[in-house]
């Protein structure tokens, strides 16, 4: 197990570095730079060049990347070329907002999906199972953007039950009025809830009919015990990896959900940073996203490894 953990973690570090290099390379390939964006239509070529020099954008790309990496090792994420403020400040505010959306969404997924999946899987083919399956497929088929707009139009604007957006609200305001979070959390969780529930359902159904389960039943083991000791652990192993993908998916979903509901979180921050060609910011976001994705995948793999123990194969 220890060897596996070590190999998995060093691979993770390499993955992060690769992402950073790739993101920086793609960032420099995008047309224009921050100076072009900021001066845009108004600036003369001389003004744009002056700004470029002031922002240090006249240095070669590899030199800027090298500086950035050097600062990173001292824990400094650099300075935004749009706002002139430390990137970590902006990232900090926005992480708070995204956590307010992501953590409840994740909890919703992790608490509700196993229940729905298990109930559905144990009653495979029943009316309840079919109803749940249809609902999950339908919900899954609606893009998050559309689902968000639909919910706002019906629940907020027509019925007047929940706030429509979080426009102009910072973390404090959101904490003071958590009802703002309900719709975006629901949208964010919906697709992953469906995914995970369906995966668990399939696992439960398969395990329930496995030869081992049948054998246990023939030995007279009670059905409850069969489900708790055998069926569920067997189904949850693969689900752990699916759950890890949920976390990544939530970060992706945050881009859309934050846009629809006007949140200033990591998703919208990343989009703005790319639009502004603010590479120090883009890099910091990429590091955070890649780090999170890699970390949860490692955790997912380790959990799956643990839940489905095999004999270690030594190379």
């Amino acid at each position: 197990m220890r060897g596996y953990v070590l190999r998995r973690c060093s691979l993770a570090a390499l993955q992060c570095l690769a992402v950073l290099v790739a993101v920086f390379a793609v960032g420099t390939l995008l047309p224009g730079d921050t100076a072009d964006v900021l001066r845009g239509e108004l600036g003369t070529p001389e003004q744009i060049q002056a700004l470029r020099v002031r922002l240090g954008l006249d240095e070669p790309a590899w030199a800027r990347f090298w500086h950035w990496l050097g600062h990173l090792l001292t824990g400094d994420l650099g300075t935004s070329s749009t706002t002139g403020l430390p990137v970590s400040e902006d990232l900090g505010h926005r992480t708070g907002v995204t956590l307010l959306l992501g953590v409840p969404a994740l909890l919703l997924v992790v608490l509700v999906a196993p229940v729905l999946g298990t109930v559905s899987g144990l009653r495979e083919g029943s009316r309840l199972d079919r109803a749940l399956n249809t609902a999950a497929l339908l919900l899954h088929a609606v893009p998050e953007f559309v689902l968000g707009l639909l919910l706002v139009a019906t629940v907020s604007l027509a019925a007047g039950v929940l706030p429509a957006t979080a426009v102009g609200m910072d973390t404090d305001a959101l904490l003071a009025q958590p009802s703002v979070l309900v719709l975006p959390v629901a949208v964010l969780a919906a697709r992953h809830l469906c995914d995970l529930a369906r995966q668990i359902r399939a696992g439960v159904a398969a395990q329930r009919h496995s030869t081992v389960a049948t054998h246990l039943r023939l030995l007279g083991v009670r059905e409850r015990t069969v489900v708790l000791r055998h069926v569920l652990p067997g189904a949850l192993g693969p689900a752990a990896q699916q759950f890890a993908r949920c976390v990544e998916g939530l970060l992706g979903g945050a881009v859309l959900v934050e846009a629809v509901f006007g949140f200033r979180g990591l998703g919208s921050g990343f989009v703005e940073a790319v639009q502004n060609r603010d590479l120090p910011q883009v890099q910091a976001y990429a590091l955070l996203f890649a780090g999170t994705a890699v970390a949860v995948n490692v955790a997912g793999d380790l959990a799956a490894h643990r839940l489905a123990p095999r004999r270690e194969v030594t190379a």
Binding site: V37, L157, Q177, Q275, R277
Partner: protein, 501 residues
């Protein structure tokens, strides 16, 4: 389905603001929230760097300018009490009204000189830099506390347009740091996070009278649907820059109102006359005659606009009223294309999603120009760097300009050799007329010369104004005291005159 939600928005708004500070009805009448797009700004409260609408709205709250634009872009007094030039048009005496900065210090001639000198510095990045650099700062001076003399490098009787230009706000002498900004505008600074909310408080001692609202918040919401939903649900009172389906939805909605500024944005096609193939004037003419402008307005602008006649500034001071409208003439255009030996020629036009009308317009134009023998293809560029890129790349490009004084537009965009002359138009006759207009004292004579210059530019400059589109902002049902006005003008985003209730 989406539109159906709008009608009941009001019913819900009471619930929506059920808790938090927004909740109490006493506060509701006092705090005004306006949502703007905030992307692509340098995000400081430095008023001299103010390229976007949100920057201008923030600058308007905190600062004052010497003058301001009426709806037709003529200049009205603001901090300046009077201005007059000597007979040559080079020495301008400006007298200031009595006004105070938020720290209690009076606004003086020194402050004006400092502000203009700073905004004229190319490193600052003011949109009015070019116009302000006409001032000879070594010869200009304060003449008493509230009187100053600005000496120009060359005579210019249209100079006062600069007093109202964006990026000419008056800041206290010596200001370099804008983290706790001090201005003389109707609101005082409370807080600001770059990319986030800007908060202001009413300033009771403003010379033009205190604002009616106690607090102003300018909040960012880059997604149009988020701005619209925030407005419909009562979370904000003002949503800037509505377009397309949002406009339709607001029209159906019973409570919110649209503020529509007609002809606010000039939709242009820039043909680079300095490069092949548009160095041949016959092809420029062929495009002018080949476009079906009515169809473009009907389809690409969804009817929210008017046809253009290849000249900037319809309805503004200095626009010639006696123009024969451009009519489509396919026969003549086709003949010109053949004469130029350009039958079947492929032309690439630069476009992007900056303006939702461009891509449908490019599609229509491709069909319209095929009938005159030209093959148009569209090349889509990234929106945030589009304007910077088309300065150097391509032969034809879409562009928009919101309202600004006609004479400024001509000076900046069409004079030969200026940095923002993107069509590379160069006409000695045009330049000479502009020059003579600047040095002519009598206003009627001056406008007549501008008219003659515009007629030359209309035919030859390669700058085709194919339409004017409307600009839309939206306000909630409780908002009073705002009217539709073109962006850049005085009455636009005039939040110190707003009343709630």
């Amino acid at each position: 389905m989406l539109a159906a939600g709008g009608g009941l928005a009001l019913a819900g708004s009471g619930l929506l603001t059920g808790c938090g500070r927004d909740g109490s009805s006493a506060d509701d009448g006092d705090r005004f929230r306006a949502a703007f797009t905030a992307g692509g700004s340098q995000e400081t409260l430095d008023p001299h760097v103010a390229p976007n609408f949100v920057d201008q709205a923030r600058a308007k709250a905190l600062y004052d300018t010497l003058g301001t634009y009426a709806d037709d872009m003529s200049v009205r007094k603001r901090l300046a009490d009077s201005w007059e030039s000597d007979p040559s048009g080079t020495r301008w005496r400006i007298r200031l009204r009595e006004a105070q900065f938020h720290d209690g210090k009076p606004v003086t001639a020194q402050d004006v000189l400092y502000s203009y000198r700073r905004a004229a510095d190319p490193d600052t990045g003011s949109p009015s830099q070019e116009l302000l650099s006409a001032i000879d700062f070594s010869a200009s001076r304060a003449d008493g506390r509230r009187s100053l003399i600005l000496v120009l490098k060359a005579p210019n009787f249209e100079f006062p347009t600069v007093f109202a230009g964006p990026g000419t706000e008056i800041i206290p002498d010596g200001t370099r740091d804008f983290r706790e900004p001090v201005g003389s505008g109707p609101f005082t600074y409370v807080s600001f996070t770059p990319g986030g909310t800007a908060r202001y408080r009413r300033w009771a001692d403003h010379w033009d009278g205190a604002p009616h609202i106690a607090e102003l918040e300018i909040v960012p919401a880059n997604e149009e649907s988020a701005r619209l939903n925030a407005l419909l649900s009562g979370q904000v009172h003002y949503a800037a820059d509505m377009a397309g389906s949002s406009v339709e939805r607001l029209k159906k909605d019973g409570s919110a109102r649209l503020l529509t500024a007609k002809r606010a944005t000039a939709q242009q096609l820039l043909l680079r006359t300095g490069r092949e193939p548009f160095d041949d004037p016959r092809l420029v003419r062929a495009l002018q005659l080949g476009l079906d402008r009515e169809e473009l307005v009907r389809v690409a602008l969804a009817g929210h606009g008017q046809v253009g006649d290849d000249l900037f500034g319809k309805g503004l001071r200095g626009y010639p009223d006696d123009l024969a409208p451009r009519r489509r003439d396919v026969e003549k255009a086709r003949k010109l294309v053949k004469e130029a030996g350009a039958d079947g020629l492929e032309i690439t036009v630069e476009t992007s999603s900056v303006d939702a009308a461009w891509e449908p317009a490019a599609d229509l134009m491709r069909r319209q120009l095929r009938e005159v023998g030209l093959k148009l293809t569209a090349h889509t560029r990234a929106s945030s760097t589009y304007f910077s890129e088309i300065k150097t790349k391509g032969v034809a490009a879409f562009n928009t300009t919101s309202t600004l004084p006609v004479s400024d537009f001509l000076q900046q965009r069409l004079r030969s050799g200026t940095a923002r002359n993107q069509t590379q138009f160069g006409s000695k006759k045009f330049d000479a007329l502009l020059e003579r207009a600047r040095t002519t004292r009598d206003e009627q004579d001056r406008l007549a010369m501008l008219t003659r210059a515009q007629k030359i530019a209309r035919d030859d400059s390669g700058l085709l104004v194919w339409a004017f589109s409307d600009a839309n902002d939206a306000i909630g049902p409780a908002v009073h005291g705002l009217r539709a006005a073109p962006p850049n003008s005085h009455a636009w985003a005039r939040f110190d005159r707003v009343r709630l209730g």
